[in-house]
């Protein structure tokens, strides 16, 4: 397989030198991705034929990003706009983007999306009270769903560049194999102790919990902030019924928080959703590390 990839790159380079370097530069697909997992998939699948851009600054969570006029202008000029869907791109209704260039990568499993009920209720106008229900959006932490999203990216690429079909499908196979490895590994680990009570610091692990059968209860804490006293009493109450020994974090919590947690017998474990581009490593590497981190509580 790696030989094939190398060969395909060699062929591209040959084609590039044959048709003039400018030609391939111009014909490069301009791809925009709304989060890092999609950008990673596009980079893997489109390889040298595309310029993949993640318009979200590295220090911003793409789920809470709000594009400015300049970012919208760049997105408008893209050939392909990859969206996570599942209500992830809240900014989508605030901007003008071509519909035909947008690809909702989670559309294939729309009926399997998890609804968050009663998120916010408010009332205005004669219509009276209503709630703004949301949809859990960290779809890619279910690696089977991630593979479907990669599939959607591949289909969109092939629709725009049919001549790349073989190469894209080849790359898709490799990518999906990597994701299937993660999926199998995680299933194997979690099946060792099914129903093991766990805590999560943030409500972003719904699909992870569903796919891998995690018995997860969620608080709403930020890694860098010490939660107020009420949160700690709430936690004590939860622990009484849900004796978890591990809390999943999106990033390493501050020592004060993790120390206080360990006095309650709760160890902090990082499971990074990797929504934005990591400082080092790539999507698969981060996910492998996440799974490695999760091994310990399941082996205890």
């Amino acid at each position: 397989m790696p030989i094939l990839r190398v060969l395909s790159v060699v062929f591209t380079l040959l084609a590039a030198s044959a048709s003039g370097a400018g030609a391939i530069g111009e014909s490069r697909l301009k791809i925009m991705a709304s989060n890092y997992p999609l950008a990673y998939f596009a980079e893997r699948l489109a390889g040298p034929w595309a310029t993949v851009t993640l318009p979200v600054p590295v220090d911003v969570d793409p789920a809470y990003w709000q594009p400015d006029v300049k970012a919208v202008g760049t997105m408008q000029k893209a050939d392909l706009i990859l969206l996570n869907g599942a209500d992830y791109e809240k900014w989508l209704v605030h901007v003008a983007l071509p519909r035909l260039k947008r690809v909702d990568t989670s559309a294939g499993f729309r009926d399997r999306l998890i609804r968050i009920e009663n998120a916010v209720v408010h009332s205005h106008g004669p219509a009276g009270q209503h709630s703004h229900e949301g949809i859990a959006f960290t779809t890619w932490l279910d690696f089977d769903q991630a593979a479907q999203q990669a599939d959607a990216v591949a289909k969109a690429l092939i629709a725009r560049r049919p001549e790349l079909k073989t190469a894209v499908l080849e790359a898709l196979k490799a990518l999906q194999a990597g994701l299937a490895d993660l999926d199998g590994e995680l299933k194997r680990i979690t099946s060792a102790r099914p129903g093991l009570p766990l805590l999560a610091s943030h409500p972003v692990y719904q699909y992870l919990a569903r796919r891998y059968g995690l018995n997860l209860k969620t608080v709403h804490w930020e890694p860098g902030e010490m939660p107020p006293a009420t949160e700690w009493t709430g936690l004590d109450k939860t622990l009484a019924q849900h004796p978890a020994k591990t809390m999943l974090w999106e990033a390493q919590p501050s020592p004060a928080v993790s120390d206080k947690l360990s006095t309650k017998g709760v160890t902090s474990v990082v499971f990074d959703p990797c929504a934005n581009r990591p400082a080092s490593g790539d999507f698969l590497a981060i996910m492998k590390q996440n799974i490695e981190n999760l091994k310990t509580p399941f082996q205890r």
């Binding site: 519909r99 608080v219 709403h220 939860t238």
Partner: protein
């Protein structure tokens, strides 16, 4: 021969008023039917071109003429709306791309057209100044709309409820003009374009809330949802969308059910077009698919029928006018009896009188033709505008 024309010319100059009246009458008799035909041709070309460029149109079942006129020419007649999901339905078939369009409201007399950015690509519309809309509340003006409203990039334009069909739904929104489109010589020149979402905000389907701080979006307690506090949150809605309040703008309900007036369907090939049309054969369905070219052609046939009637009337009027001109000539011949006698006495043949008369008639005819051509040439640039005005409204 030259002398004939010289004499005829002197004679015509001598009777200036008579000549002028004759020339005007004759040129009008020629210009009217020719001008009418020119106008109809311009209208036909202009409407056919637009219809040809729009392969298929999906809209509410009913009058296909209203649907076509509304979606292609932004006519003022109200078209029943369909739902946004119709655009997804078209695209989901894989046979065609669906471009949703919402042309129901007017802003300061100009049609306000809600589209997605694909529309500009599809019609080949590019901004001559500024940019295309980027953010909610942005709008881009057609060339003539910009001229008519006297606005350019950076200006604002208040949308007002000018829709007779629902007076309660809309509320004024200050639109930001981001650009002016290059002249397209099509109905797009008259329109004010906004993103569909902006059109829905004007419709009252989306809004912002005052002070998003007071309404935190995440009110979950650690272990489950809290009972929501509702009534104490700000109820005021914005009339201008700014970078500060943009994030608080949201839509209620399922956007797939939001109104649009039509979907322009761009089939990938002929076979796809046929398959797609087959999808809309069900008589009971609320939507129908039409070929704007067919609709426009049948509409034009009616116009041409009226045109033919006009031609008949003009032919009659022209014949009467020609008789009158002949009468004028024969009367003037009688008045010129003494003059003709003099010509004979000078020793000229009978034919000379005829030649003189012929020269006179020819000169008048030439002058009339020249005036007629000048009138037609002067009116030519307005032909399509006139056609648009008379055929569409």
């Amino acid at each position: 021969m030259r002398h004939d024309f010289y004499l005829a010319w002197r004679h015509l100059r001598h009777h200036r008023i008579r000549t002028l009246i004759l020339v005007l009458c004759l040129s009008l008799i020629g210009a009217l039917p020719l001008g009418l035909h020119r106008m109809l041709e311009a209208g036909e070309y202009w409407m056919t071109r637009r219809a040809e460029a729009t392969p298929l149109l999906v809209g509410a079942r009913g009058s296909s003429v209203d649907l076509t006129l509304g979606a292609l020419y932004f006519s003022e007649a109200g078209v029943p709306t369909i739902r946004m999901q119709e655009a997804d339905r078209v695209t989901a078939t894989g046979w065609a791309d669906g471009l949703p369009l919402y042309a129901r409201h007017r802003v300061q007399g100009q049609p306000l057209v809600g589209v997605t950015l694909d529309y500009f690509d599809f019609r080949g519309l590019a901004p001559a100044q500024g940019e295309l809309p980027a953010i909610l509340g942005d709008c881009v003006l057609g060339a003539e709309a910009a001229e008519h409203l006297g606005l350019g990039p950076g200006d604002t334009l208040a949308s007002s409820s000018e829709n007779a069909f629902d007076l309660a739904g809309t509320y004024p929104l200050k639109l930001h003009v981001t650009g002016v489109l290059a002249k397209a010589h099509s109905p797009d020149d008259n329109a004010v374009f906004v993103d569909l979402h902006t059109a829905w905000v004007i419709e009252g389907l989306g809004h912002g809330h005052v002070d998003p701080q007071a309404a935190p979006t995440l009110t979950e307690s650690p272990f489950g949802p809290v009972a929501a506090r509702g009534a104490d949150m700000g109820l005021l809605t914005y009339t201008e969308i700014t970078p500060e309040n943009l994030a608080s703008f949201h839509f209620h309900g399922d956007p797939a059910t939001y109104p649009i007036s039509a979907v322009i369907a761009l089939p990938h090939d002929t076979r796809a077009a046929t398959l797609l049309r087959g999808r809309y054969l069900d008589e009971k369905s609320e939507t129908e698919i039409v070929r704007p070219l067919d609709v426009t052609r049948s509409l034009l046939q009616n116009v041409f029928r009226v045109g033919a009637l006009f031609d008949g009337i003009l032919l009659l009027v022209g014949a009467i006018a020609l008789f009158l001109v002949a009468l004028v000539f024969s009367l003037s011949l009688r008045l010129r009896q003494r003059e003709i006698e003099t010509i004979y006495l000078l020793g000229c043949a009978r034919l000379t009188v005829a030649r003189l008369l012929f020269a006179e008639i020819l000169l008048i005819g030439l002058f009339a033709a020249a005036v007629c051509a000048a009138v037609l040439a002067a009116a030519a640039p307005y032909a399509s505008d006139l056609a648009r005005h008379f055929i569409l409204s």
